[in-house]
Symmetry: C2
Subunit: 353 residues, 2 copies
Amino acid sequence: MTQLKNDTLIRALLRQPTAYTPVWLMRQAGRYLPEYNETRGRAGSFLALCRDPGLATEVTLQPLARYALDAAIIFSDILTIPDAMGLGLHFVEGEGPRFERPLRDEREIRGLQAPDPTAALRYVLDAVRETRGALAGAVPLIGFSGSPFTLACYMIEGRGSADFHTVKALLYRRPELLHHVLEVNCRAVTDFLNAQVEAGAQVVMLFDTWGGILGAAEFREFSLEYLRRTVAGLRQEHQGERVPSIVFTKGGGGWLEDIAAIGCDAVGLDWTLDIGAARQRVGKRVSLQGNLDPAVLLAGPEAVRAQAKAILNAYGKGAGHVFNLGHGVSQHTPPENVAALVAAVRALSPAYH
Amino acid sequence: MTQLKNDTLIRALLRQPTAYTPVWLMRQAGRYLPEYNETRGRAGSFLALCRDPGLATEVTLQPLARYALDAAIIFSDILTIPDAMGLGLHFVEGEGPRFERPLRDEREIRGLQAPDPTAALRYVLDAVRETRGALAGAVPLIGFSGSPFTLACYMIEGRGSADFHTVKALLYRRPELLHHVLEVNCRAVTDFLNAQVEAGAQVVMLFDTWGGILGAAEFREFSLEYLRRTVAGLRQEHQGERVPSIVFTKGGGGWLEDIAAIGCDAVGLDWTLDIGAARQRVGKRVSLQGNLDPAVLLAGPEAVRAQAKAILNAYGKGAGHVFNLGHGVSQHTPPENVAALVAAVRALSPAYH
C-alpha cells in the first residue's frame, strides 16, 4: 500500500513530535453536509448507505473535500455487530436505532454468537478497502466499533434510552448473564476491528458511548474490563506500521486514569473536562483526543476560534494532542463553522509544537 | 412550631453525630406508588396536583406512611418559577415539561422579572405550611427549587433536551443574555427558597439537573457562580433553628471540590461517583448525600441490600452522610424494594456511627 503523505494523526496518537495539532471530528461525515444528504437520498436510507461500500466511501470522503482534516473515519454505524448477530437493526425516523429482536431471556443470551466479520460485516470491510484505495495515502483511515458494553446496552434494551433500566436491572439481578453478553461482544469487537485493520484501517477507535451511565465499580467491572480485553486483543501492527488505538468513554471523566491504563494509545475526552487538567492526570501514558463542545459549532466562527484556542492553550505545548470535538457534530451545524474550526486549529496550533 | 421528634437529617447535614445514617429518596412521592396514582387521578393532572395544597400535602406524606424515612420533601415541580414568570408550563404525556412561551429573543429576555413568591407561588407555600402542620414534627420538611442554570435551560429550550443546543448556542453567541436570565433566576430562586423557609421548610435543596451538560469553564461561569450567589442569599436560620442547604449537580462529579466550596452544608452525589473517594475529596467542608443508582431498586431486595451496604461501607464511619439515591426513584420501581432499602439502611448504618 501507499505511504502516508500526512501521518500527523498517527504521530500525535503515538506521542511523537508533529508540526501542528492534527484535527478530525467525530461524525465529520453526516447530516450537516448537504452533499451527505444528497447521497443518503440516493441510497434510500441510513442503513442502505452504510451497506453500500461505494456510497459509504463517497460520504467518508466528503468532509475531506471541504476541510483540511488530518484523518478520514469510515462511514458506518456502531451497531453493525449486533445486527450481524441477527438482532435486526433498523432506524425509526427521529428516534434513533432499534433492534427487532433484542435479547430478552437467558436462552437468547446463551445462544449469542460472535459473527465472522469477513462474512456478515463484509460490507464494512469492503468500504474500508475502497476508501483506503481512494485516499491514496492522503491521510490515515480510522476504523471503529462500539464498545462491548455500549453494544450490550442496545442489544438488551432494544433501543436508546435515558437510563437503560432494562440493562441495569439485568446487571444487578443476573450479572453473570450480562458478563456472558460482554464476553461474546468482546470477541466480536476484537475480531471486527482486526478485520478492519486487515482491510486497511490505520487507526482504530472504540466508542464507549454509554459506559458513563454506570456507577464507578460497575464501570470497572462491566465496561472497562472488556475495553481492556478488547485492546489487548488488537493487532498492534499491520504491514510494518503501528496501528494506534483510541478509547472514548462519554461521561467517563471520573475514570480517566483507569481508562488511560488499559493499554490504548489515546483516550478521547468529552467536552465536560478541562483538557489541561486531564493531561496532568494521565501524564505520559496516553495521547488525548478532544474536546470542543459540539454546541460551539452552532454559535459562529468567532466563538469557534476563541474556544478552539482555549483548548489548544489548555493542553499546552508538546506532543500528544489530537484536536476533536467532545461528541459528534450536530446535524444543525453550519458547515462554515466547521471550516472556521479546522482553519483555526491549523493556524493556531503550530505555536504549541 | 413543634420541636422535631426526629432531627437525624438536620444533624447529619450539619456533620453532627447521629445514631444511624438518615435516609430519604429523591422523588420518594411519585408514580411508583399506587396511592400517588390514585390521588393524581383525582387531581386530574400532575400540575393540578402540584397546585392543590391539600392534595400536594397528601402525596408528600404518602411515602412516610409506608417507610421509616427521615425526611419529607414537598411535592412540587422544579419548574414552578418559570411558570410563575409567565412562560406557561404544561406537560405532554410521556414527553415531560414544555413551556408555551419560551424565551426566544432579546426583548423577551430583557423583560424577564423575578416573581413575588408570596403571590404567584403561593400554592407551593400553602402546601409547605399544610405539610409542616400535618407532620407535627415527626421528621423535617425539605423545600426545593431548580437551580438558576437548570431553570434557564428549560426557559430557553422550551422543553427537555439531550443537548440543550439552543441554550448552548446562546451561551457561546450572546453570553451576556444568558447571564441576564441567570441573574433574574438567581433572585427568583433565592426569594422562593427563603419564602419556603418562612412557610416551614426546615432544609432547602437546589436541583442543578443540567449543570453537568456544560464544559468545566462554562459550568463555573454559568451554573456554579449562580448556585454560590443563591446559597449566599439563603436564610441560614429560622426561628432559632439552622436551615441546612443541599446542592445537587447531576453529572457534576468532576467539580465536586468547587461545589463543596460555595457555602452549602451538603452536596448531593449522583450514582457515578464512589462516595468514599468523594468524601476524601471534600474533606470536612460538607456533608454528602447519596448515591445509590436508582436502577438498583428495579433489581430486587437482595441486590438492594448489597448495594446499600456497599455505599455505607464506602462512606465509612462517622458523621456527615445522608443516604439517598443518585437520582429520582424510577416510576418502574416495585414499592417493596424501597421498603427493603429503607430497612437495610436503618439496620446496617448504626455500625458506622
